[in-house]
Structure formats: structure tokens, C-alpha cells
Amino acid sequence: MALDSARYAELFRSESQDQLATINRALLALEEEPGSAGAGADVFRAVHTIKGMSATMGYHAVAEYAHELETLLDRMRGSGDRMTPVVMDALFAAADALEAGVAAASESAERTPAMSEALENLGSAFGVGRPAASPAAAADGQPDPFDGPGVILRIRQSPGTTMPGVRAYLVARNLAAIGEVAAMSPPLELLQAAAAPQGFAVRLVTRASATEIEAAVRAAGDIEAVQVDMAGRARKRPATPLDTAVSEPVSAGPRQAKIDLARLDTMMNLIGELVLVRGRLLQLAAALGDDALDDTVQATARLVGDLQGEITASRMVPVGQVFDRFPRMVRDAARSLGKEVRFEVEGRDIELDRALLDEMAEPIVHLLRNAVDHGLEGPQERAVEGKPATGTLVLAASRDRSAVLVMVADDGRGIDRARVLERARAAGLVAPDTRELDDAELLRCIAHAGFSTKEAVTSLSGRGVGVDAVVNRVRALGGSVELRTVAGAGSTFTLRLPPTVAIIRALLARAGREHYVLPLTHVRETLAYDSRVVGQDGGRDVLTLRDEVLPLRDLRDVVHLDAPQVVGAEREIVVFERGGRRGGLVVDELVGQEDVVVKQFDPAHGALALFTGATILGDGVPALIMDLGSLL
């Protein structure tokens, strides 16, 4: 049975990523509380699992590295008092080398210098020698039990095996009936105690044929795969013990299957197109006026809606999957700057579309780095300010109606308004007589491409992505960014995201002969144009709504439409809101409400910044999606 298929390789990578996240999380916990046996055990178990999976895949370099790392970790057990910062750094570096190894894993990959160095450093930091180079010779000088005559078996139990330990015992019993079990790895005692299905290796001295051996193994029940290697140790490579191929607990949670993300993307795109076709079908059916056809089309439309909901839900993942990578990054950044930072992650269970979450990782990293780099002060400066020496950085996800909010908040020095204003004036981003910037204007300025108030860009946050990139990315995904900053008290960036990409609910507005898409996320209400509520205030058009005076724009002006307004036509007003601020937009007509599929587009240079995407409407006509918030 070929284990090295693309499907297994993909599984290997995704599960290894999970394990690496666990390792980093546990190392951070260990650093907090050096004696934590739980965190130590988590690291050990995760390294062990990666070892087993990579051995199963035939990725020897990673498997052997993981094995040696595991041996070192084993020796470090119960030595909480010796977990010095030097040891911790060596552990983090060892985890990095493992991650790099997993990323580059292949059957032919050799051990990298980084791996050797990591083991060397960890060993000397902890004051134990590096383990013998090959797992074949165990550290205490005993010969490798797999070094000997016989047949090498690699066995993996089925997912969902009940009492896997007893099944493993049955394998040993069945094999003992046809030969002599010379070695098992992991040892039978460990296998018997296992709560989850395992992978394991056996050296069997026997005269039985491969078929007989396989039959004996399978007779133990719940066996997913058996490899019988009759050549045994004739090969050069030592048989690295093979284990936990299936690491999930058997009974926990709902039944799950890992699905290729590309497939989910294809489904999402197909359903997007299907939704488009549905819109068209509804229009056509309505035009024909046939009741039976109408019913059928309506039923189809409903089913398409349900299907869309299910597919969208299948792509939702907890943000923790990505957020869990950040504590490590924040720690490293803070350490390299000599800052003390307490990093808190909240709302890890909030779900977001997987594709969207992946897209958001980079902007969030940038905001976190900015906070550590520029926002949070060093311990001395904080002491002078009368703040606790340790700064606080919070990354929180939450739900707000149909949106997901991601907040990055620090209690640092806040953004220097005066300095930004000065530079903004110099760059001509604001009128020369501007006295003060409010938060929204401040964000608009620092989000301007190439704008930076730091003359000397540090190595940390100077790497390409600026706030402009963050804002653009979020907008392109149909979201928006808000900023609150208070001098001396810190800054908070709030990213408002649709929980899923691709399909949005929107109002269709007409101006002249063009249709524009207004996402419902920002729409508060709509009303008929009424000259009694519309007026002028200080030379600007305003809308008076329940005693509140809101700025009012005309869609025709916004899109630079020259054609004259049809006299006597009834116009309508859309009231929209972002970040607590509201405004009104006069449109010729509200054509309807529709689900539109967002097509990303790269706006031509000089194009109006208020469009975030395009879509094809039900009648096949393209329309631009408007970012209402940008009108405020």
C-alpha cells in the first residue's frame, strides 16, 4: 500500500501544522511557568506525533530530527528549574527547525544544518550532550532493537478504532503465533495504554510469507494499513519507529473529514455562479408569468440558497487556527526590542471563512508588529509614564450582527497626531489650514501609500506592508478598518469583516443608466426623497433625520455622471453608517436587493477609490460594488 500519495502528503502537512502550533503554544506556556508538566508533555507529545507521521511518510530527515529532539526533551523532563531563557530560546529555535523541516519534507530531503545546530544548541544549553546521531543506537548504549534479522512491519490502525491498545495487543498475539516478535516500537506496554489509534512498527522473526503475515495482522481487527518489508534491515536507512498516524481522539466532537481546500474553493465558486444563474432564472420566470414554472424556479432558488449556506458553513474555521501562530511572533518581536509584552488572544472560537482568514493573517501580523514596534513603549519609558512595565497587546475576535470584528489593541503611547498632521500637510494630504485630525482622518493619512512617521524604519515592521496595505486588503475583502487612538493610552485598530467572502447581500442602486451595488453591511435604512428633510448647511447638502443632521451626497455626483436628472422622477435616499458615523446617498432608484458574487478587481490607476469590487448582475450586466464607508 503506497502511503506516499499526494493525499497523505497533504494530510501530513496540515496535521503537522496543527502540531507545530501546539508546540509553540506549549513552549510559551512553559516560559510563563517553567515547571508546567502539562506544557512539557504537550511539547513532547506533539514532537512525537510529528516523528510518527514523518516516519510513516518516509521523510527520514524530519523523523530522525524529531526523534533526537524527543530524546533531548525526555531528558529535560521534570527540570523546570533549569528552564533558563537560554534553554527556552534553544527550544524555540528547535521548534523553528522542525517547522522548516516539515515545510521542506520529502523522501530525499537531507538533514539541514539548522537542524543539527538546533540540537547542538539545545543540548549544550541544557547541559546534556547531543544524543547519538542515529536513533539506531539508543542514547544509553543499547543496540537498536530493530537492528537484527527478520521482517519489518509498519502497521496503522483505522481511525475510529475502539480500544486501540487491546487491538495492538491482538496484533502482537497473532504475530507471536506465526513467529517471534523481536521488537515493537512504540513498545507494547505503551501501545496498550494508547487511547487513540496508533501507527507502530514490529520486527518479526518468522518463516511465514508476506501474505500470511499480513493476514495475521489484519485478523487483529481495525487495521487500516500494513506494510511488510521482507528485506528487513538490508536497507541503509534505520527503521525509525513509526507511530501515531492518527492523532485525533476517537470519540471527541463531530465526525470530520479533511477536505482539500482547493475543492472547497471550487465549490464556493460554483455556488457563486449558481447563485448568479438563479438570479437570472428568477427574472426570466417572472417575465413569463407561468405559475408552475414560477413554483419550480422558486423551489430551486430556495435549494440553491440552502446549498450555499451549507458550503459557506463548511468553509468556516475558528480564527484560533491562525491566531495561535501569533503569540510566538509577538514574543520574538518583543524580545528582540527588549520590551515586555503580555499578549492576550480573545474570541478564538469565532468562525471566519477559511480563505478570508488566510488573507487576513498578513494584515494582522502587520498590525501586531506595528503595535510592538511603535505603539508599546520599553519598560523604562513606561515606568516614567507611570504605567506597568509590561505592556498589553490584545487580539480579539467577536461577532457584530453579520460581521466579524477583529481588534488589535495596545496600551502603548498612541499615534502622534501632531506629527502625522505635520507630515500630512507637507505631503498635501490635508488642507494646509487643517488644525486637527480626528481618528478617521488620521487613519486616512497613515493609510496613504508610502506614508510613514518613522524616519528610521526598524527591521521589524519595515518589511513592505504598511497600514495602507492593511486597509486595502480589508476593503478588497468587503470589510472596513476603524482606528481609535489616545495619546499615552494606546491605539486600537478594528477590522470589520464579512464572515465569508465571495457572496454579499446588497442593494442595487441606479444612477442614470448605470447600476451600482451597495453592500448591506453598511446600510441602515432607505427612504423616499423628500424635499422637507433635505437641505443645506454651511454650503453642504445635508439630510435631517429624526433631529440628526447627516451629510448627504448624490450618487450622480459621486460617480461624475453628467447626464441630467430626469425631471419629476422619484428619487430615493440610502442612509449608511460606519464607525458610528452616518451619511445619506441620493440615488435615482433602488432597483432591488440581491446576493451578488464579489469579483475582485485591480482598479486601473486613477480609478475612483470608492469601488471595492465588481459583480455580474442577474441580467448579465456588470456593476461596480461601492464602499459606502469611503463617502464619510
Binding site: M163, G165, V166, L170, Q192, A219, G221
Partner: protein, 120 residues
């Protein structure tokens, strides 16, 4: 000819369930026992092809019953029926001579797979 089965469990509910699963799959249930002692006696009397054996039963537990049955007939085929969390007892039963095991709550497919393995 259908394989014959002796079902041993102190709960009528469990005996009925196992019997249903096996009968629907074409096996012939030739007897039932509700204690370990009764299981040994019925085995000697009926000589079934297969015994399903609960672990915890009054008046001689399932493990001792397996031991006595295997002593009497080394070729006896006994399938242990265990509850969750009884790993150690299941291993002990296998060491006493049981061939395989199933874990409650029973899934018919799993029971039949185990039966087929034992009778193979």
C-alpha cells in the same frame, strides 16, 4: 450450515440485542446464559461454534468462564463483550483464551466483523 452461537450476558436486554444482530446475519443462537457458571455448563452441553461473553457477570465472571471453557476445549472460540474503559480486563480475557472483543454500545457491523474474524 449456519454457525451456532451461545450468548452469555446477565442482562436480558444485551442478550436480546446480540441475538437479534446475529440471527439477522444468519447465525443460529442455540443457547443463552446469564452467569459465568451457566455459560461453562451450557458450553459443555451445546458445543457451539461461537460464544459471546460478557465480562462482568454474577456467579463466576466472564474471564474465569473463558478460562474454564478454554481448558475444557482449547479450540473454543469466545468473543468478549466489554464496556468502555475495561481495556485491562479485555487483555486479561484474551490472555485467558478469548479470540476477539467488541465494545458496548454495540454497532451491528462491528459485532459481525468481529464474529467473522473469530470464525475465520
Amino acid at each position: 450450515m449456519a454457525h451456532t452461537v451461545l450468548i452469555c450476558d446477565d442482562a436480558i436486554f444485551m442478550r436480546t440485542m446480540v441475538a437479534d444482530i446475529l440471527q439477522q446475519a444468519g447465525y443460529e443462537v442455540v443457547g443463552e446464559a446469564s452467569t459465568g457458571k451457566e455459560a461453562v455448563e451450557k458450553y459443555k452441553q451445546l458445543r457451539p461454534d461461537l460464544v459471546t461473553m460478557d465480562i462482568v457477570m454474577p456467579d463466576m465472571g466472564g474471564i474465569d468462564a473463558v478460562r474454564e471453557i478454554t481448558e475444557y476445549d482449547p479450540r473454543a472460540r469466545v468473543l468478549m463483550c466489554s464496556a468502555m474503559g475495561q481495556q485491562a480486563l479485555v487483555v486479561e480475557a484474551i490472555q485467558a483464551g478469548a479470540k476477539d472483543f467488541v465494545v458496548k454500545p454495540f454497532q451491528p457491523s462491528r459485532v459481525l466483523e468481529a464474529v467473522q474474524r473469530v470464525l475465520a
